[in-house]
């Protein structure tokens, strides 16, 4: 049966790449004696795929992987069992059984939420200045950047791929429509910095349109006349969505809720 697992990635493990995260899960499943399905042949491997691989250096509260299992217990039991075989820096927070007909996570990714923080020691402006400059930046009609590939350079307007931005978590969650009143602020596995300069953003993600938060910050720096330094920012992913809307009307649903709605 198809299983979708939601997990966090934080602390020192932000320095391991996504292939190593895959190996980490493969070994964790074996330690936890989870009944995972293997491919046939002499070097059998677990059938596993990730929704949207996270780059090295990024942390997350909303990673997804799909895996096949022969049997499993209730989600709470499975989560406990797997977490006991792992360390605190990668933890399973969701476990759902998917209908056999469901598409794999990778193919339906459409958007993601991020929290971008300026690391301590890398501030180039104070919090208030950052806020108004960033607000100005995000209110522009278009944000043109030059995308370089091996063969060509082309100008792209990234503005349509920035779905929403905010400086406070409750405001952000209200804006994107996920605050349910009770827990307006979620505890995040993200690192905290005392300078408090940060911005939440919802961006297009996936195979059709893909915008990395680092690119947004680069465009912002250009706009603000600053030198962009990638290591100055800590990017934390909060959630990944599929788009169940029709045409241009987006209807973003977290990957762990998709099948509950359609299935």
């Amino acid at each position: 049966m198809k299983i979708r697992i939601k997990f966090t990635k934080s602390g020192p493990l932000k320095f391991i790449g996504h292939l190593d995260v895959m190996r980490y899960f493969q070994k964790a499943f074996r330690r936890a004696e989870v009944d995972v399905e293997y491919s046939q042949g002499f070097s059998p491997h677990q059938l596993m795929s990730f929704a949207a691989p996270l780059g090295v250096g990024l942390t997350s509260d909303g990673e997804y992987l799909d895996v096949s299992m022969h049997t499993c217990d209730a989600p709470e039991i499975m989560i406990k069992k797997i977490n006991e075989a792992m360390n605190e820096y990668i933890q399973v927070v969701g476990f759902m059984v998917l209908p056999d007909s469901s598409k794999n996570a990778m193919s339906i990714v459409a958007a993601a939420d991020y929290l971008v923080s300026v690391k301590d020691g890398y501030e180039t402006m104070d919090k208030a200045v950052f806020k108004w400059k960033f607000t100005d930046f995000s209110n522009k009609d278009s944000i043109i950047i030059t995308k370089k590939s091996k063969k060509s350079e082309k100008d792209v307007d990234i503005k349509p791929m920035i779905y929403y931005t905010a400086f406070e978590q409750d405001k952000f969650r209200e804006g994107i429509g996920t605050a349910d009143g009770k827990d307006r602020v979620l505890h995040l596995a993200a690192d905290c910095y005392t300078n408090g300069i940060k911005v939440f953003m919802q961006l297009a993600t996936g195979s059709v349109n893909n915008l990395k938060p680092e690119l947004v910050m680069e465009a912002f720096c250009q706009y603000a006349g600053e030198v962009f330094k990638e290591s100055a920012y800590q990017v934390h992913r909060m959630e990944v969505y599929a788009d169940l809307g029709a045409g241009t009307n987006r209807k973003l649903i977290p990957l762990d809720k998709v099948e509950c709605l359609t299935g």
Binding site: P12, D20, R23, K27, G41, V56, S231
Partner: protein, 626 residues
């Protein structure tokens, strides 16, 4: 979260930052306030190599079972980080606590191969610990070394406070207890070294002095401290089924060289190949109990989640309960997606049956290590494998569907002639010819034979410790001769020939049998930029040659000089059980092309009986061979 020693900015600019973040699965964490002794264990090579080595995991587990000790790890920083640590003056740190190595009580360095020597100096320098032991103060950690290269510690003697000779399971407790006691008494570093110099197996090089003759050989080796022993006896753990072995080995995040559970089934070897140091220094052979191994296999697989288990020993086929163990592992784990790997297996019916169960025949190859091409030379080196064994083994495998063969040989063995070298080509061809005797419709495509030659390096505590090593010219000529001969064979298209470069082996030859004067050469070469010498892309032979020249030391003196029976060898002060008389007897028997039976068939009275156990006390088919 514990703070990492390196900033995000550094970690994101270097290759594989996961090498430096610690926090692996099964890592040991301890409260530093409740610890008396901080021990940093070092493998002087890059993380992926060091993490693959079982010995450190055994000691890591053993030290950490002590409540008063916290054992952490450090590996050589890769060249990219090396530069950054130097530029920014960041002290090298241990992975667990991420704290500087220089704050530890001990820095224990494992000595697995000679080509890691410059990396030892790197570790010391980056840790901001004085490279020479004589320059260290009360503030610096005590630096110790152990492992196979400690069987001739002289070339690196100047860099170590002491060496531990032998297997780690035995007297480390006493070494640590003495440290605590000395601290309590307010004793100095020197007081401590004097205390442990009395413990068996501990060698404190600064308590000894070497005098040389005009011809550069050793005139005398004597102690200059009353606490030091005349002879240092190697430590041996006789009961391997009731000793330390890690039930929960560390599991790295990144892919390392040995990404698997390693089960050491026995130590030592009964075979007595005359070139093999491991076969001599780990005598006598001691097996682990099969019930112990089954239990550990289960527990280690469960605790790591590894998808492969590998049996380790010098010659697996000699383990008496091998069939029982292997069939158990297959039965128990094959269905759970666990691969089973069995290196050093003699090709016989059992091996073929097992291999067909655990590997894809079409993709795997048969491995033979005849070491020498002719039967004459195999008798000289006491390698019991005959041409008949090889051809029959290969033929049986071919009939079952295999078509790839790997052959390992050495060039430069004592007494080797042109004919011996040519026989390598002939043997390779014979194997191919055997293959083509199978009717076409029953064969599995073409046969592929890969013959590899390495450059023979004589090692201490082997019968060939007196032998001369070929000069690079001689070696290269033999290589050429062989290449030509292979190209003249009927099945030349099926035979691929691989060879080793000469330079690295030459240095290995110097370090293996070198004396204390080599320390200065290593220091100079390191200071001139040599590092990661085991990695061909970093090996700088020119610098090494210059360092020898500047120190007025002649490489050929160490490598291509046959020694006399009477000569004092730099490692003679070590007592490894196996006696010099035995080794000399074996050397002479080798020159006479006489084979010596293995320890199960007959005892050759090698001296290992002093350890009171193992194969030495079993009943034999034959009388003692002398």
């Amino acid at each position: 979260m514990k703070k990492l020693a390196l900033s995000d900015e550094i970690l994101l600019t270097i290759d594989k930052p996961a090498r430096y973040i610690g926090n692996e699965i099964n890592v040991v964490t301890k409260d530093l306030d409740k610890i008396d002794i901080r021990f940093c264990m070092c493998f002087p090579d890059v993380y992926e190599i060091g993490m693959s080595y079982l010995g450190i995991q055994i000691l890591y587990d053993m030290f950490n079972r002590r409540e008063d000790t916290y054992c952490e790890r450090v590996y050589s920083p890769w060249v990219d980080l090396d530069r950054i640590l130097r530029d920014k003056q960041i002290p090298l740190f241990a992975l667990e606590s991420q704290e500087p190595v220089k704050c530890f009580d001990f820095l224990g360095i494992t000595l697995q191969y000679e080509m890691s020597y410059t990396n030892i100096l790197q570790i010391l320098e980056l840790s901001q610990i004085p490279i020479y032991a004589k320059d260290r103060t009360e503030e610096d950690p005590v630096v110790l070394g152990g492992g196979p290269c400690a069987y001739n510690p002289e070339p690196i003697a100047d860099f170590f406070d002491f060496f531990y000779i032998g297997e780690g399971e035995t007297v480390y407790d006493r070494v640590l207890e003495a440290y605590k006691e000395n601290k309590k008494q307010g004793g100095s570093r020197r007081d401590y070294l004097e205390k442990i110099a009395r413990i068996e197996g501990i060698y404190v090089p600064s308590f000894y002095e070497v005098e040389y003759k005009e011809d550069n050989t050793i005139r005398a080796f004597h102690k200059k401290n009353g606490h030091a022993k005349e002879k240092i006896r190697k430590q041996v753990e006789m009961n391997l089924s009731d000793t330390f072995y890690p039930k929960k080995p560390l599991v790295p995040y990144i892919k390392v060289t040995q990404d698997r559970v390693v089960l050491e089934i026995q130590r030592g070897c009964i075979r007595g190949c005359r070139f093999c140091q491991a076969g001599m220094i780990y005598r006598p052979i001691r097996e682990r109990d099969v019930a112990f191994l089954k239990d550990y296999a289960c527990q280690m697989l469960k605790a790591t989640g590894h998808e492969e288990i590998s049996l380790s020993s010098l010659s697996s086929s000699d383990y008496s309960a091998l069939q029982e163990l292997v069939y158990y592992l297959i039965e128990e784990f094959s269905s759970k997606g666990v691969n089973i790997s069995l290196p050093s297996l003699r090709i016989d019916a059992f091996a073929l049956d097992v291999m067909s169960k655990v590997q894809d025949i079409r993709k795997s190859s048969l491995t033979f290590a005849p070491e020498a091409g002719s039967q004459r030379l195999r008798d000289v080196i006491n390698k019991g494998l005959t041409e008949k064994n090889i051809l029959e083994g290969a033929m049986n495998a071919f009939r079952s569907g295999w078509n790839r063969v790997k052959l390992y040989f050495m060039l430069g063995l004592p007494t080797e002639t042109e004919e011996d070298v040519e026989e390598i080509a002939v043997l390779s061809d014979k194997i191919a010819r055997e293959y083509y005797t199978i009717p076409k419709e029953q064969r599995n495509g073409k046969v592929s034979i890969v013959a590899s030659t390495s450059y023979f390096v004589p090692k201490p505590f082997t019968p060939f410790q007196w032998a001369r090593m070929d000069t690079p010219e001689e070696y290269i000529n033999k290589q050429r001769l062989l290449r030509g001969k292979i190209n003249g064979q009927l099945n030349r298209k099926s035979i691929k020939y691989n060879w080793h470069e000469a330079e690295v082996s030459i240095l290995e030859g110097v370090f293996a049998r070198g004396d204390r004067r080599i320390s200065k050469v290593i220091y100079d070469a390191y200071k001139a930029g040599c590092l990661y010498d085991a990695w061909s892309e970093f090996f700088q032979y020119e610098i090494w040659l210059k360092a020898f020249e500047e120190n007025q030391l002649d490489i050929a003196f160490y490598t291509s000089r046959e020694r006399e029976r009477e000569e004092i060898l730099p490692w003679d002060f070590l007592d490894v059980g196996v006696t010099k008389d035995f080794l000399w007897r074996e050397y002479k028997r080798g020159m006479e092309e006489k084979v010596t039976p293995n320890c199960r068939r007959a005892c050759a009275d090698c001296g290992a009986k002093i350890f009171h156990g193992g194969v030495c006390y079993d009943k034999k088919e034959q009388e003692v061979i002398r």
